[in-house]
Symmetry: C2
Subunit: 209 residues, 2 copies
């Protein structure tokens, strides 16, 4: 038999690739460093040379996940079309990614990242908001949307689509198709932004604070 070389060569990449498959099959809890090592034909402690601990591997997975997702979102935003179409396409790109990689999405937004997690990981999640804000600002400039705080509007849109993505990824939409939810959500958000928000509703606050 061909004697295995002592050094794997691309163990780090192999670990990440295999781990990405594992978590989608068996969930994050189903991921075991030792199983991963066995699967790749290396010793049980080999992963430790590339990732300080299990969370470090998950952090790296999250980073890759954000890179891939942002690439899709940016690609969707750059496609031709009017503002509203681009808005819908961005939303669809986000939710589609979530449905395709539900567990990875959970890892990406998991709160428990290493204290020394890279700054990139901390800020890379905001790319989506930036893209949404750009489209909204353009549409406002073109008069298609009412003027308003496009920063906050983008955040609200991001938040709403994040909810749709999470629930769709978790298969928690009982009878509703993902696509019809995206359409309904983007329609509602766009209608609200087109109308503008004449009377901010602040009188509800109870004095319970």
């Amino acid at each position: 038999m061909t004697s295995q070389p002592y050094h794997h060569g691309k163990l780090r990449e192999a670990l990440l690739a295999r781990a990405a498959e594992f978590i989608e099959e068996a969930g994050v809890d189903g991921l075991s460093l030792r199983q991963l090592a066995r699967d790749l034909g290396v010793s049980h402690a080999a992963p430790g040379k590339h990732f300080r601990d299990k969370q470090a591997l998950l952090d790296a997975l999250a980073l890759d996940g954000f890179r891939g997702m942002n690439a899709r979102i940016i690609g969707a935003s750059e496609a031709a079309g009017d503002h509203r179409s681009r808005f819908v396409r961005i939303a669809r790109a986000y939710v589609d990614f979530a449905v395709s990689h539900p567990v990875l999405l959970a890892v990406m937004h998991s709160t428990k990242h290493h204290p020394d997690a890279s700054d990139e990981l901390r800020s890379i999640g905001e790319d989506g908001i930036r893209v949404a804000r750009a489209v909204i600002a353009e549409a406002q400039g073109a008069g298609e949307l009412a003027p308003g705080d496009c920063e906050m509007l983008a955040l609200v849109c991001f938040v709403s689509l994040h909810g749709a993505a999470v629930l769709a990824a978790g298969n928690l939409l009982d009878g509703t198709s993902v696509d019809s939810l995206i359409v309904a959500t983007t329609d509602l958000l766009w209608a609200g932004m087109a109308t503008g928000m004449p009377a901010p509703h602040v009188s509800v606050k109870t004095g319970l604070a």
Copy 2:
């Protein structure tokens, strides 16, 4: 020393209560059945008499969580006020609960429940949607909101607020206060529903089962 009674008496409740504290302190992964047992002064296998396995305990936690959350939401919806105020109050109840019990919320919406998880656990998550739908339907009847598929509208609102709750619970809103996000989100949704959605692209499915 007072000899411990052989039977704890209320071990099941004690386990749930202590576990609820543990997960908020150390996350779901930080929860150990054995540690829990040590903490309550019982043997390491005692929890097994009340919960088939760890997931069964998490399922029970999730069930309790839904009960408490739904109680708050329903309470908010029954408070006096016009439709819009009640809508905002429901939203606030949801997000407030999420911020108060972030890890529990994740457990509640975790996909990996036992195959034999109670039917109650499967359907109890829809109470929030029902409450939102009722308010929307009333407001539509009163002419405050444009007519439309209140089932789908309620789902979109629920989804949006769920996103806000998840991100707020995860402390992922960098500079924005939770309250201003709630206000902006409910304002935008309400404005959209008041205007109505002129031209949906795709036909909408029938309501939830």
